[in-house]
């Protein structure tokens, strides 16, 4: 059964309710009044943020990146998650803005990442300059990859490189969380969902066959 026929069999009331649920998700400001404790920028969003709203980086606390940091972050994020058959480049789905939001957040976990990411971005430009006399963003992809390969080596005997490798790991973990949280990222990783449907048929027969499983909840 395709979902269209299912949906058309739904009672009108149900469809209206779904519609209302979807509309509320898209409503940006009409419900602003609900949040009672609009959080001051330096203390996070508080325990009662407005949830009937869509947020953009910079909405709740000020961002940090300087021009140079932003350039390095864009370039590095795009090497880590480039445009390819699986999806667009990180920067086209605003991963760098998310990174900036992340390291600017006033919470302990994010503050810790900030301590790795800001010096790390500086380091990667310095490293690029000393190797190639250009900032990281101006390197060719091959040059950028040379540095990334060095950062990905399992053993890092040099303490400076150990630190840099730890930065690379934190940076890419934040990028991964950002990228796969976008609809483009869902496609890349294979998440399908967040769409209402009149019935849930469970995993498709092909998937059950692939796995040698049988659906045990019968109609």
């Amino acid at each position: 059964m395709d979902s269209e026929t299912n949906n058309s069999r739904l009672p009108r009331r149900t469809v209206l309710q779904w519609f209302a649920a979807a509309a509320a998700a898209g409503e940006a400001s009409a419900l602003q009044g609900f949040a009672q404790s609009a959080a001051p920028a330096t203390t996070g969003y508080g325990t009662d943020p407005n949830m009937a709203k869509i947020y953009n980086p910079g909405d709740v606390w000020p961002l940090t990146f300087s021009k140079a940091e932003k350039n390095a972050a864009v370039a590095l994020a795009d090497v880590i998650l480039p445009a390819d058959d699986l999806g667009p480049a990180a920067s086209t789905v605003r991963v760098p803005d998310y990174l900036d939001e992340w390291i600017s957040a006033p919470y302990p976990k994010q503050q810790k990442d900030r301590e790795a990411v800001l010096p790390g971005l500086k380091w990667i430009d310095e490293e690029s300059n000393s190797r190639f006399q250009k900032s990281f963003a101006d390197l060719s992809l091959t040059e950028q990859q040379t540095i990334c390969d060095d950062l990905c080596r399992e053993k890092q005997p040099d303490p400076e490189w150990r630190k840099a490798a730890a930065f690379f790991h934190s940076f890419s973990t934040i990028c991964i969380g950002a990228y796969f949280g976008t609809p483009e990222g869902w496609k890349a990783i294979g998440y399908v969902g967040n769409t209402p449907s009149g019935i849930f048929t469970g995993p498709p027969q092909e998937v059950l066959d692939e796995l040698g499983l049988e659906q045990t909840v019968k109609d």
């Binding site: 149900t14 309710q17 779904w18 649920a21 979807a22 509320a24 998700a25 419900l31 609900f34 009672q36 996070g44 325990t47 009662d48 943020p49 949830m51 009937a52 869509i54 947020y55 709740v60 998650l81 480039p82 390819d84 699986l86 605003r94 939001e101 957040a105 919470y107 302990p108 994010q110 990905c152 399992e154 790991h169 890419s172 973990t173 991964i176 969380g177 950002a178 796969f180 949280g181 976008t182 609809p183 990222g185 890349a188 990783i189 294979g190 998440y191 399908v192 769409t195 209402p196 449907s197 849930f200 469970g202 998937v207 059950l208 796995l211 499983l213 049988e214 659906q215 045990t216 909840v217």
Partner: protein, 599 residues
């Protein structure tokens, strides 16, 4: 949600209810439909799930990808408001510096309490669970048996809507035919675990959850719930018609704007308000129960958080349902000449025998689940399958080193990604570029989490009292927690780890990290499962308990405790369905007494 302020309150109500969660919601529902005038005090703000639930918001539309922060412990879109492990202005303390002797206290401060975001798992206690002491000599028997509660379980299931199947398993009661809604289909992780379970002797069956898999039958259920009360039938039918069936998307922990799952704010409070018999005062933090000269409760003293002033409501009976920890706190803070050690505390047992659920988790990586064809795995926004406890026989035969059971909750990982990495970091470390994306896609959804949720036996070392020094923002003494697991719980956790390892290996998978076979290292902290129960023990001897079988305190006969504080045991069955069943039963008792002119 329509509310009033204290200036609009009546001179006197029939019943004052503290708390608007599962217990308070059920109490208000049953009493007001029977024509009893109630006022409800709720410490949190009002909340409208229809307008405020972030149904389809994606993770990238929240700050930090919606990941958890100290402000929102369970993530940005989680339905908890002004709550979490820490509540602003409302500290609590620990008697010990040792982590294993501490209790983590989760609270929500909002209309509907924790029911807005709970997991909706709704299991009946079985016959053994009301008489555990008779079975193994440990803990306490309840003064009631399964038969006393059975019909109330059925009523609650019919009202809130619970999906699941009847499996006829030991001490895992079936519901009467036609009561449960159809269970959802198994997801990949569920079916995989079920197959592995059958290899190692662990049954895996559909779980029971308070989610509508089809619309409630508003034409027939109301008459079953409220025979002979036409007005109630109509109100309840109208309310049921406003709830849609689940649309198989979105996370129930965010709440449900279409009313397809149970939360007090969509199921209990709307019909109660529709009777015209309920006034709700939000931002009203109850401080103590006020007493009359006659030894009866006469109302509640509370802080109006909007002004910081102390206010009072008067009522002929008082119901506390502020969550068991907070109910204990209110009793201990209600000191008077007659009750120098706290209200209804002549037994000295208020605050004693606090229980949580035994928690211990293990995750496996399952190669067979790598690169599975993408498909929609959202389902009913929470669990579909579980394992009810299956070793009653072995325990009875004395073959086990712990006395009570646990159930297993199954966590698939094909969920909406974002915020945190959808694949554990070590699988993607040292990768970048297309290779990184390919590996993320390969491993995404290939993990299965198994969680032990087990019974804790009440003990002398797990209790709460008032901190002698620390006070909250309004000068009210706060809770101080004391905690200790017994070997029964620690051994259970070890058993769970062994079982999970076998199950994961039976799936051809490998355990993530090292399974920890030492109970004390693998058991989660007290309170972490957020099944806080006990503190006002129910019993049949007034010297040895706080409440009688009607959730009525022995010492003050117009004072009722309708959250989990009267629980005499904490079966592995999650507590909320039982809280509601007992609250309905207690409400019927109040209605009957009121009919005799005894209010």
């Amino acid at each position: 949600m329509p509310t009033i302020s204290i200036s609009e309150a009546r001179e006197e109500y029939d019943v004052a209810i503290v708390g608007s969660g599962a217990g308070g919601g059920q109490m208000a529902y049953t009493l007001t439909l029977a024509g009893i005038k109630c006022v409800m005090l709720e410490a949190g703000r009002s909340y409208d799930p229809v307008k405020e639930t972030p149904m389809f918001q994606t993770k990238n539309q929240a700050p930090l990808g919606g990941s958890s922060t100290p402000d929102k412990d369970f993530g940005f879109w989680d339905a908890t408001i002004d709550g979490g492990w820490d509540v602003p202005n409302e500290p609590y303390t620990q008697a010990s510096d040792k982590k294993e002797e501490q209790f983590k206290w989760w609270r929500a401060r909002m209309m509907g309490g924790r029911t807005n975001h709970w997991g909706r798992i709704s299991l009946r206690n079985g016959p053994y669970d009301f008489k555990p002491k008779s079975r193994d000599g440990l803990g306490f028997d309840w003064p009631i048996s399964y038969r006393d509660v059975e019909d109330y379980y059925t009523k609650v299931e019919q009202l809130i809507g619970v999906y699941g199947s009847n499996e006829g398993m030991e001490n895992t009661p079936d519901s009467p035919a036609g009561v449960l809604q159809p269970p959802p289909k198994g997801r990949v992780g569920d079916l995989m675990t079920q197959k592995a379970g059958s290899k190692v002797g662990v049954p895996v069956v559909p779980i029971h959850r308070a989610v509508l898999t089809r619309p409630l039958d508003a034409d027939t259920i109301p008459a079953k719930l409220h025979p002979k009360n036409k007005k109630a039938q109509k109100i309840v039918a109208d309310s049921m018609r406003k709830r849609a069936a689940c649309f198989w998307a979105t996370d129930c922990g965010r709440g449900c704007s279409i009313g397809a799952n149970y939360q007090s704010t969509t199921v209990h409070l709307p019909p109660a308000l529709a009777t015209g018999n309920l006034d709700i005062i939000p931002n009203a933090h109850a401080r103590e129960v006020t007493m009359g000269e006659n030894g009866k409760a006469k109302g509640v003293l509370f802080i109006d958080k909007t002004t910081g002033k102390e206010e009072r409501v008067n009522a002929k009976a008082v119901v506390l349902a502020a969550s068991s920890g907070e109910t204990v706190r209110i009793l201990l803070n209600s000191k008077s000449k007659q009750f120098a050690d706290g209200l209804a505390n002549r037994s000295g047992l208020v605050g004693k025998y606090i229980m949580d659920t035994v928690g211990s988790n293990l995750r496996g990586q399952i190669p067979a689940l790598e690169n599975v064809s993408p498909h929609n795995d959202d389902g009913a926004g929470g669990s579909h399958f579980y394992s009810p406890w299956w070793l009653y026989g072995e325990q009875k035969a004395g073959k086990m080193d712990f006395a009570r059971g646990y159930h297993i909750e199954i966590g698939g990982t094909r969920k909406m990604p974002g915020g945190n990495s959808p694949v554990p970091g070590n699988y993607l470390k040292g990768l970048y570029g297309t290779k990184l994306k390919e590996e993320a896609r390969r491993y995404y959804g290939s993990f299965i989490g198994l969680a032990c949720r087990g019974e804790m036996i009440p003990n002398e070392n797990s209790y709460a009292d008032l901190d002698p020094e620390v006070k909250d923002k309004w000068g009210i003494p706060v809770m101080r927690w004391h905690w200790k697991w017994s070997d029964h719980e620690l051994n259970m956790a070890t058993h769970a780890q062994k079982t999970f390892t076998e199950m994961i290996e039976a799936m051809g998978g490998t355990v993530q990290g090292k399974p920890n076979m030492r109970g004390k290292d693998t058991i989660l902290q007290g309170g972490e499962i957020i099944h806080e129960v006990g503190g006002a023990l129910m019993g049949d001897d007034r010297e040895k308990s706080v409440c009688n079988e009607w959730n009525q305190t022995w010492d003050v006969d117009n004072l009722f405790l309708c959250d989990a504080s009267p629980f005499a045991s904490n079966a592995d069955k999650n507590p909320t369905l039982t809280i509601m069943a007992l609250a309905w039963r207690c409400a019927d008792h109040i209605i009957e007494e009121a009919g005799k002119g005894n209010l």
